[in-house]
Subunit: 396 residues, 2 copies
Amino acid sequence: MLSISHRGQAMPASPIRKLVPYAEAAKKRGIKVYHLNIGQPDIETPKMVLDAVRNSKFKVLEYSHSAGNESYRRKLVGYYESVGIHVNYTEIIVTTGGSEAIQFGLMACLDAGDEVIIPEPFYANYNGFAVAAGVKVVPITSTIRNGFALPAMEEFEKKITPRTKAIMICNPNNPTGYLYSNEEMQQLKDIILKHNLFLFSDEAYREFCYEGKQISAMHLEGVDEHVIIMDTISKRYSACGGRIGAFITKNKTVLDAVMKFAQARLSPPSFAQIAGEAAIDLPANYFDTAKAEYTLRRDLIVKRLNAMEGVFCPNPGGAFYAMAELPIDDADIFCQWLLESFSFEGQTVMLAPATGFYGTPGLGKKEVRLAYVLNLNDINKAMDCLEKALIAYKNK
Amino acid sequence: MLSISHRGQAMPASPIRKLVPYAEAAKKRGIKVYHLNIGQPDIETPKMVLDAVRNSKFKVLEYSHSAGNESYRRKLVGYYESVGIHVNYTEIIVTTGGSEAIQFGLMACLDAGDEVIIPEPFYANYNGFAVAAGVKVVPITSTIRNGFALPAMEEFEKKITPRTKAIMICNPNNPTGYLYSNEEMQQLKDIILKHNLFLFSDEAYREFCYEGKQISAMHLEGVDEHVIIMDTISKRYSACGGRIGAFITKNKTVLDAVMKFAQARLSPPSFAQIAGEAAIDLPANYFDTAKAEYTLRRDLIVKRLNAMEGVFCPNPGGAFYAMAELPIDDADIFCQWLLESFSFEGQTVMLAPATGFYGTPGLGKKEVRLAYVLNLNDINKAMDCLEKALIAYKNK
């Protein structure tokens, strides 16, 4: 018998996408499904960003530089400057989505068996990238009752072993929406300096902050050699399908190693680099509009959730996710039941069970993640469904 | 001291791109450099392929399905049918270039420490993907004097160990241009059946055959569970920058595992999937024109090379590469000298030293790879440079 690898077997299925067959079956039965399970924004990609691609005049769809077009990287320097991150263009490697930036970081900085500490709940695909790299994810628990604040220094130190090479954060956080404070970022700085670790900072949601501003890992002083930013245009410009991200560090040894991985896969996608470059010229108020819309959505979904009996939802400071504790025993079963057995006025809602975002088995069983990527009207209808569903589920 | 991973240190630099700084310096000195070092075709991407993207009307640049747009996969079935490969759309996973298809195959089928046998010289980036996956490349030598024919069955069997999981070929071959015969493909079938191995077949250059037709690994009967095709639109439609490829197999266990890797990185690029889908509607004679042009180029470069004193170049049956043995001791030094210290009428030529394409240390030191991706006039001028350079180098 020809068998696949253990790594192929160990690779986790996406917790966000695993309920898709149930959603498809519900739709076939004529049920409208509100998708709060996945972070695909409904906001239109700015027309000038798409037009830059549509009006391009080149005749050969060539490989770009393995680090991305130099013109794009040079413009990115200006973008980062505008958010207080001072880098030069040689410190930026354009990647195929933020996903590839994460993979490059794990591959270049950690060997198989090395450990990365990640506050849980965390973006589930970190697990997949870690399995691919043979790296061990060591979760450190943040709790919904504490609003998912960063665990204390002592908690981190309990997790550090001789194999620990890095701490990875997502800020603002997916899936919790938590925005790390200045004090928390200073705490992370102290830890990586004291224990000589890399700090991987996934800053995909940098602009989506509703309570204060993001403190970037690159705002921290004296840790240039330690900090790596993983970035993406996906959420920033509602350009998820472009698959353009960035790997940024001032650590030259890391940059040189990552360039070799970048050269092996030749180049990031050419079309979407044009889009990414055009996006930098968006008017300064572009994010104001998007932020205002997301703020309204967040306020609505948090209010609706907390008004339901037995539901608790801390107010997320950023990104476009909310985590909620529901009066249920098993979110996986409940979310499947929502799609398989429930409807209200011909409609139901799809949520992401939180278990897939925790590294510690058994955690998150009462929690779900909701992506507020639908308009206010649809969010209201989706919350109507959830409210009715929780009552029906309790009386089952 | 914060150190990178051993994997990051072991990652090989691209042998095709490592001389780039010398080429840039030559250009700064005003020297025109003919690039025969890299497989970036000069042929225009078909206008209808680029127009499909430019005329697209969508408003949100969304994630696609992790396996690629269903409409694209369904059309690919027709393309593969046209080349005698019978698959259904669920057996195709659209990838980010052929590069990602190769990575997926190594990750899903081999564990760290497992071995893949590859006839050398081989596409140098296989090394990089193997390092990333922790997989050991076991080279099996084919020789320029034998035209790079497939080594005999016994040679393969000498290399097989309990850790051998797969054989990987590229057909037609990069870097040798060799097109495997029906007998050679049958030999590979016998080996994978006898030793229960996967056969990874990189078929990026399927249409570029000048002596007969390609026998695809999927034309072999009775080995459905063993065969995986790694494919790409890069060379086929001169669309290298699109970063669209395909992973194809009838092995359901492998498909399921690869889908988990595909889900982790979310989706392949959306713009270029539109281009790839449009390309399938190109007229049937599209490849005739490209093939006729490449045949002329091949004939010219092979004739010019073999007319030079001490140069031997076997006639490649496919792809757009030729390997040549030169009357020199060290191709790496010679290729660097071409860029640093030589010019003829203000021009020089950039070649890829063959050492980077061999897995066995010390092999290929007298050989170079030439990509005939320039027009006939430029090839002639590049060959003038090489001819003069070999004389100058000898008399140095």
